[in-house]
Amino acid sequence: MKSHIANLFSPAAIRALAVPGAILLCVVAGAKWNWIAQFPDDWTLPVAAGINVILNSIIPNILPLTSTVSHALGTMLGSLVATLQFLPWPAVVLAVMLIGFKAGGLRLLALCLCALSYIVLAGFWRQSMATLSLVILAVPISVLGGFLLGLGAFLLPWVRRPIELLFDFMQTFPAFAYLIPLLLLFGFGPIAGLVATAIYAIPPMARCMLSGLTQVPRELVEVGDMTGCTPLQRLLWVELPSAKPMMMIGINQTTMAALSMVITASIIGGFDDIGWAVLSGLRQADLGKSLLSGLVIVLISIITDRITAGIFAGRRAQNGWHMRWGTAPVLLAAAAILGMGALSRWAAPDLVQGLNETRGVIDLSVVNSAVLGFVGRYGHILDALKSGILYYLVLPLRLGLSGAVLPTTWGFAMTPPVTAFYAAVALLLAIRQWAKGNPGGAAGTLSLAILLFIGLVGFPWPAAILLVMWCALRVSGPKFAFFAGASLGFALLSGLWIPFVKSLYLVGVSVALCALVGGLLGMLAAHNSWLSAGLRPINDALQTMPQFVFLIPALMFFKVGEFAGLIAISLYAIVPAIRYTEAGLRAVPATILETARQLGCTPAQSNLLVQVPLARPALLLGLNQTVMAAITMLPIAATVGTAELGQQIYISLGKADAGLGITAGIVFCLTAINLDRMLRAAAERCATPDQDK
């Protein structure tokens, strides 16, 4: 008992409580000295201007090289597009069906037929071929780049960490932010988009490559060594072959990444592709048109995914008589069909030309009238939902309880007695945690209470840095704490603190919404296979649909402003929340559930007290993925009128201010990387809970 009391006042416990103390001090001091509450403008450094100076000195020097590359790629792209658009679609459809049959049997054949018929019927054949050409050209570049980077990281372990950081940057850096320098380097047109796509699609390949190589079983490597392999022979004959399955997954993932990026890159124009159609639909707020063209990319993604996965899985994974055909004859037959198609084009040029330029017969404009009809009839419900979330979730986070609690909405004001009551509750909770021997938790509770009271936007910056560094220190260690502190310092010094904080809170609120709704759906799906089967295609579509498409319903339902952005972000970010919750809960061993049932748990009890705690690592990883998805969606949501980093990037695109875009992009990446590390570290700690006790 005595030692318990002594523990309560141990130096570590006192140190933990110093954090909320210091935050409180900052808040009080901020009222007196403005430089604490608000980072002074004249302390910022001209980061954006500096980047522009650097770019202006680099670009002219490498321009000859890049314009040569651009010219070469342009010629290749031009001839590829011409070829694909030259081939009559029935021949292409047949060839793809044949390959699909080889890869996945009758089911995949039927899927290919449906998907390709849709593309023809929707009238997007030409545009699909253009998009496909871009992907066909970008994927080999990414695969080669990823292969070399992954191999390099494997052979030189000391570059592994910096290279992994580079991958993080490549995957989270918003494409909008580097489009301007790419345009300056590669000229106006699809090549800049092609390069952006290729860059974005490198990391999945490189990551799979690296993990495939590092996971080669030790015994195999030893066998190689014993038979007298030189390191090169070992690499070529042992390590690379056994990393092949992972490499195949890498190629598949890279293709998927490229397909999702071509749409964003088409904002440049210069190319009549699917992305342009999606964007025109967005510009006209025409949901039907956007959906019509967005579905094309969804379907192309699905069949590419199934075909590559099927072919790479090879003979082991499947059996069936279609597997008896060799790959080479099938490809030859497909080539022969295409050749015959080409010949037919010469034989009857007018007929085939007409075929390829068929206008669409599918018309989704009924979707528009449905949405507008819904808004007309249920507008008041939507408005009530919006005001509810704004008043009770968004505004408190932004302005703090001190600013958001008003008699008109909450029914009371934050008068001194109410504030005192709030402080007392927070203190009581903290004391309880402290008495339980958890001074860190107590400090966290107090800090959170102060944060909620002040709001994110008004939170003094020294306090924010302190709080973040302390959290980082607790979940991971001093190295990460330093990195997190430096990241926040960069946001401050570059003058982007306020947009950064606004992004953070937009991400925070949408993640909270996703966790709530997605978690609930995932939980229900874990217990109901019907719901689970029904959710799967919806999730697939939400994830592969061009993100721009979500903006239109969000706008129609909830009007211009942060809230529409919030909904658009949540529509995209909810998928990992659903998926990981379901997978995590389903992975809980049935024996444990049976034990819980025998102990007399009600289903609800077994759910909350047994399944959820056991699935915690999976849930945290899901949270991590949700945060990442929300962050990637931010710059796209800027087009509905949010005021955060994404908007800065968008403005920089309009001003052609590469420096501002890149600075905002870096802040953006740092935010994503820090949150990712923090949540991953937390997930690891959960997976091994007894480590720190």
């Binding site: 300056l184 000229g187 047109g189 124009g269 402003g561 403005i651």
Partner: protein, 314 residues
Amino acid sequence: MRRVRSIYLAAGLSVTALLSWPCAAALSAPLGDSSEPIKIALNEWTGQNITARVAGQLLEKLGYRVQYVTAGSFPQWIGMQDGSLDMTPELWTNNLGDIYPKLLAEKKVEPVGDLGLNARDGWAYTDATLAICPGLPDWKALLEPSCAAALATAETLPNGRLVDYPADWGTASANEIEDFKLPLTAVPAGSEGALVAELQSAIAAEKPLLLRFWAPHWLLAQAKLNWVEMPPCDPNDGARCVLPSPVIKVVRAGFGDKWPAAYSFMKQYQLSAEDQQVMMMEIDQNHREIGSVVSRWVADNAAKWNPWIEDAKK
């Protein structure tokens, strides 16, 4: 049917060619390099596409080859700089960004006059707004607290909400609100799609809405919008006065030397809002193909464009 029409057109053209035979020898010189196509930017909105295609078809009549290139309204300036684009025929000067003025100062692009679209621009409101602000269209109606309160939302309380142009377009609404002490808050929309969606859903729900908008716009062919009589402000002070945006035509530097006749034509080329709106209606509402809609307009309006072509040939 289309083929028949094009035969007529071809016949008509050859007749004009025959009539102008005496000066045919001189004709080839002002045409310039007619083997290389003139690359015309196609931006994201239907109105611009109409302007571009009318110009393109008329340039073809002059004897040029044209090529249409889709281009984002900001990235297009990179294209105008590096030669992937030769002209952008409909530039709204309220939405310029920073790169166009820079190119203009460096003389890399050249404006070739107003398009004659006589655009309208200002604050506008839906019919349902009239019920709560009965004094409209007079701007003083917006001073009424009851009007502002009815337009307010959670984000703008206690002020009324004015949906403004996106922040990157540059707009004077916020300054004008300040100057005239209007109880309003300007909320930037983020994109044109956002403005359109906002307006469509307000009309569908019969909700009051005050927003900044412009005409000609395809949406106005299907949605009714009323214009506020704006407070009097100094038209020379663009930063504090909401003004209709001039719509101009811009070509690449050196366009005139390369294609003298096309240059002369582009200087004269005009397209009125009424003409554009009729074609917009055909394309967006009746889902007709843009090429044939434009061809028909060109065939029906020879009186309008003949003088430009004749003049350009001189």
